[in-house]
Point group: D2
Amino acid sequence: MERTVQQVQSLFSNVRKQTEDICLPLKPEDYCVQPVDDVSPPKWHLAHTTWFLEQIVLQRHHSSYSFYHPTFQELFNSYYQGISPKPYPRNQRGTQSRPTTQEVFVYRQEITQRVLELLESYPSDESLRRHVEVAIHHEWQHQELLYMDIKYVLHAQEMLTFYREQVLSDSSPSSMQWIDFSDGLTDIGKNLEGEFSFDNEGSRHKVYLHDFSIAHRCVTNGEYKEFVDAGGYQKPEFWLADGWHWIQHQNIRQPLYWSNHENQTFEYTLNGLIPLCSENPVSHVSLYEAQAYAQWAGHRLPTEFEWEHAATRIAPSNQDHFVDMNLLHPVSLDAHSRTFHGNLWEWTSSAYSPYPGYQSFEGSLVEYNGKFMNQQYVLRGGSCVTERRHYRPTYRNFFFPQQRWAFCGFRLAKDGETR
Amino acid sequence: MERTVQQVQSLFSNVRKQTEDICLPLKPEDYCVQPVDDVSPPKWHLAHTTWFLEQIVLQRHHSSYSFYHPTFQELFNSYYQGISPKPYPRNQRGTQSRPTTQEVFVYRQEITQRVLELLESYPSDESLRRHVEVAIHHEWQHQELLYMDIKYVLHAQEMLTFYREQVLSDSSPSSMQWIDFSDGLTDIGKNLEGEFSFDNEGSRHKVYLHDFSIAHRCVTNGEYKEFVDAGGYQKPEFWLADGWHWIQHQNIRQPLYWSNHENQTFEYTLNGLIPLCSENPVSHVSLYEAQAYAQWAGHRLPTEFEWEHAATRIAPSNQDHFVDMNLLHPVSLDAHSRTFHGNLWEWTSSAYSPYPGYQSFEGSLVEYNGKFMNQQYVLRGGSCVTERRHYRPTYRNFFFPQQRWAFCGFRLAKDGETR
Amino acid sequence: MERTVQQVQSLFSNVRKQTEDICLPLKPEDYCVQPVDDVSPPKWHLAHTTWFLEQIVLQRHHSSYSFYHPTFQELFNSYYQGISPKPYPRNQRGTQSRPTTQEVFVYRQEITQRVLELLESYPSDESLRRHVEVAIHHEWQHQELLYMDIKYVLHAQEMLTFYREQVLSDSSPSSMQWIDFSDGLTDIGKNLEGEFSFDNEGSRHKVYLHDFSIAHRCVTNGEYKEFVDAGGYQKPEFWLADGWHWIQHQNIRQPLYWSNHENQTFEYTLNGLIPLCSENPVSHVSLYEAQAYAQWAGHRLPTEFEWEHAATRIAPSNQDHFVDMNLLHPVSLDAHSRTFHGNLWEWTSSAYSPYPGYQSFEGSLVEYNGKFMNQQYVLRGGSCVTERRHYRPTYRNFFFPQQRWAFCGFRLAKDGETR
Amino acid sequence: MERTVQQVQSLFSNVRKQTEDICLPLKPEDYCVQPVDDVSPPKWHLAHTTWFLEQIVLQRHHSSYSFYHPTFQELFNSYYQGISPKPYPRNQRGTQSRPTTQEVFVYRQEITQRVLELLESYPSDESLRRHVEVAIHHEWQHQELLYMDIKYVLHAQEMLTFYREQVLSDSSPSSMQWIDFSDGLTDIGKNLEGEFSFDNEGSRHKVYLHDFSIAHRCVTNGEYKEFVDAGGYQKPEFWLADGWHWIQHQNIRQPLYWSNHENQTFEYTLNGLIPLCSENPVSHVSLYEAQAYAQWAGHRLPTEFEWEHAATRIAPSNQDHFVDMNLLHPVSLDAHSRTFHGNLWEWTSSAYSPYPGYQSFEGSLVEYNGKFMNQQYVLRGGSCVTERRHYRPTYRNFFFPQQRWAFCGFRLAKDGETR
């Protein structure tokens, strides 16, 4: 179903505003800081998503496009070597006080306006619409990154600081059940025709799955705490060699946002510091921690193919827990989460690799996904800070195994009984 | 077919001697040095393979085993946390002059003798034989590592130094041909019953392959040099992001053992420094370099499943180029290499992950393979420094993508025409 | 001459305001960033000088002092182990967006008020006055650091950014002359009685000087550029071993704030980017660069004793170039600089060591100076961003030999003819 | 008193042999390893002292000297940029197995012979004799370095390994006494005429000393252990800021060669592992530790000028403890050490800086001392592994403040009563 120009314009304007609204609770200083290399200052996201519009939409569709500011070309280039050979170093983003946040907002407004006018001028340009669509999805990705980075930034403050303070409703316990699947061929990935998807979701292809079972929900805080209390972080036999080295070297003893005060464990959330809720799924764990827990529990993580095969048996619904629920924290099954879609990104055991028949996007977008297919691992399912319209069951998110500032958890799997 | 005790003893003695014979051309000083963290001093390999016998064979089968020397427990432990919690740091191996090489040879002799006596005492102990078999395969792995490490050590000398000087016969050109395969299910991996294999080769399972074509031989020095001469190392568009960062940071511009003198390219080999032979396969390249070449050439690397499917169509033969050919350098197709087995380890695009139904070895050997299944990539095929009896077509070797001191090359693949 | 309470209050209020006025040209974002470890965010200086008042003045003179905010105790502690054993890590200061700048200004106002009231309550408490006096000098030090750090921060912006734009008057050339001194005993350092001085300036003691000559002015940009143009940064024979390693490793080829555009050299200043003025003294050079220039020129740097002996022959005057001249950049002799006092801190060849009879300040202030007497070198003379009332000819500033973001230059010396 | 050619030849031959004799107890492997960057493989010293003869003696006095081996020029160059711009990296010395130790001994023999022949040919060449004299002193320096490095190498072995095992005679306690000195001018340093000295000992110049007292002996193990037992390494108030950071970062809790077994403290020595002797002077401490002890004890370290002034009141004698006593370990006063000369190098508080009128050696030797006059500190007195004929009371040894593998200790000083 085709959107009208007005619908596209409206969606685009709405998305641009969404991004800015996420930052409303921030103080001016919060926009600028970069506590670790992985986390970009919020101001940078505001500027980069605008830079992206200039590069991907405006420059391509204007005959002789004049960029807003010459310095922005490098400064807000994330990693596109084809656009500028020396993108400003990622780990230095927190040193740049200029342009100011206010100047970035002006930049945003101006470029948003230019895109709206371009759409107005070329109402039936299909290529233009496709590029705007990519840009919208790109901006949705950065909205999720903003939630991740803001959470990390505020947590990094010596002064206890919150994004907001809000009470989440109670959760009720749910004992884990296995869903069983028989062996056979399954179809994986997205056909590039039709609905939007990223290049890394194609081509659609067959995968043979052996008998397997997968948990009906993610591992909970309560379950994970048993692993912690059993000395899980002190026993190398559960850990991958690199994971063991990582927790030793970084002195890691629990999930990223847990802390202990007087024999009680608390969790730092976008809603404040709350006592750890046993029924909620464990979040902000690395793949190493997920894998070690699974090893300790006598099971394993699912492959991304098992996950997709199981997940697509249940269509996404309005009950799924995405960012529009406005909880900003993963909750237990009986609240808003439904089985596979939303709530938490789930680590899989699958390395992030090209599918058979993979064709990258063209032009500058060739660098969007393919060049990162190395040593990262796939996460599936979307999260409580993911835009609902951005999600698809075939969506492949990816991080390095030690990264855990995304809203990520995991569910268990096991081989079928016959094996 | 069962071996007699005498046959096992004879094989074992022979393998132990093989290891020592590899070191014969070394000077006493060459046994001790460690030019980079990855490369262990030859003396360490001689001791570690002996330590392994104490841990895996003697201790398990002696009621109250008394270790040869208390300090050796940690000093020659490679990475087994279950055996000693603080294995001596890998990157410090080159600082240990003691025990001396002579003392290590005495240690070897003593432990070899103890194993032979144990076999004599328990002629029908199946478990003992299996452990000796593992130890033999372990020693064959370290024989290959000795060739790799000795090559690196001697190459690292400011004084031009060779393992030996020997002229290799001429090679003749062979233009690359594609072998085509149709889609369908294939069986991958080794059934754990019967012939020896490592745990990571199982369980045997089905994989669905789409139409693909694979090269009948590896990429040659001549072909790879075209890539170098075309500025391949200066163009980020061919490289994975991590690969590009690696070649920039390490200032890498060609394969590990190439050097240039007066407009000619030479290759450092175990047979001396020789002008680059265009027909021989390119070797000692990282996965990053292999992937970049494939990208430049418009193709891709095969998965390990495509590789195994193709390789097992041709059974290993006595013509395959393994270490007993005594060339110690990969050669072109028309010399000793045949299609897939031997000559060079070949990078695949497959991450090193557990197969469906994977069951690790038991006891201390649980750490043999499984804990390394993270961020490494699979190589297949054995090499000119691999023991022939150690090789199987299902053998999965693995290295990190930047490592290239193994005898490794690669062959191209592509999707079938129908995609 | 004793000040009245009102005079002390007035001076104190004035100094507190001075600090804030320095920051007036900054944008909110500029207060927060830390481009390198050495450079603190301006907001941090505003808070730390206030923290200092709580620690040194309020806590000591209130019977039961209640600190403004518990977190500030560690967060704004620069390095006083005696006050809190884990001062917040210096290199992380730029990650703290909270408290906000506005909150810091409120903090300042409140603490300033508390100090004023304390002075009011105890008009004849000598100890209180002495501590306020130390705090005022401490704040003057940080005013200079603010100029240094703001200059570095703004220079680190990819977008060309200035503190202010102001034209400096022209300079006229002045050829260097030697001032000769005969050998003999001289008195060095400050008697701790009377006028304020830091502990490191005492005790006053005798030093025997041999015949020497010292330049009547600092080395100029023009003179230094000859060294650069003569390949000075490419010739190891002029450099200390550590200095040579430093320029190689950091790829340093000229003073910190120099840049080259189309065959012209420019200098980044607090007044804008200006063409290099040959007559002005070279500034923002390291001790290594100063020493290499001197070596190249066939001379040496003065010791701090030679410098003080020469400098104290000319009393400081109102013509000396300190921050109240409001030039914020070193100028040539014939403008505002007079011989030794003001304009630029001058590197000496003297290691920063305790004088004979050195007695450190007491209490927390024991950590003010003494614990840094290691591997740093003394600079003398004050600079164009130094408060005039903070300066004394016996003042010993100190930095590590590679640090050059202070307003520092150097003058030459040589042994007397008779040697 | 002039030596005859035969006397020079004999001395030279003897010194060359001395060097080799030091290595006699080593196993072949011990010659090659480099446990830390500071410590060179013994083989390297054997080669470097020979390289030095080629560079400083043979090349200068042969009309067209042909070097022994082209690769040696860089490989055994320690740091002389003027001789080869890329001396082989210091921290890689332990990776070079070639040339072998045997080849190095042949190199030594050949070059020794060439020097002897040169002396024979030019019996009255004064310049030649002076250069041979420098080379002899250079070789004596490396003999001491050999003892230091061999001790470190053998101590770094996981297997308990000794240079030799020898019982030292008992020591008797000696309570510390102060020697008092009145203020006045003193003469410091060596006149360059006459007896051999290094360039850094000149020129002889006047220094004014204030009243001071200096201990009649070094701080003992027993005294230092009180500091350790009193928690000295846990209390920042005694430490220089850089020293505190160093012990925290390196987890240092006692002198380098101390170890604790079942509530007893042992000391690793060249004579074996021995229970800590309370009466012997503490050795192998850094300047940071020496300074912290002095601070804790309420005193300070002497300056090098105070030390020299005190030391030269007592002429060196045959009773002084140098290497020819063959104890290879510092002992208490009543055994072999006399007051100031020999036994242990003593840290002073003086930065290593040029004396007034300093003139460096000429030619390649310009790099011998001057370029290291940065951030290092002076030690005085010679040690139990110093060649007696190499020592002078004006001798200035120098190390960085954290280095402690030299045979170094310290004595206390304090200001005179009148201050």
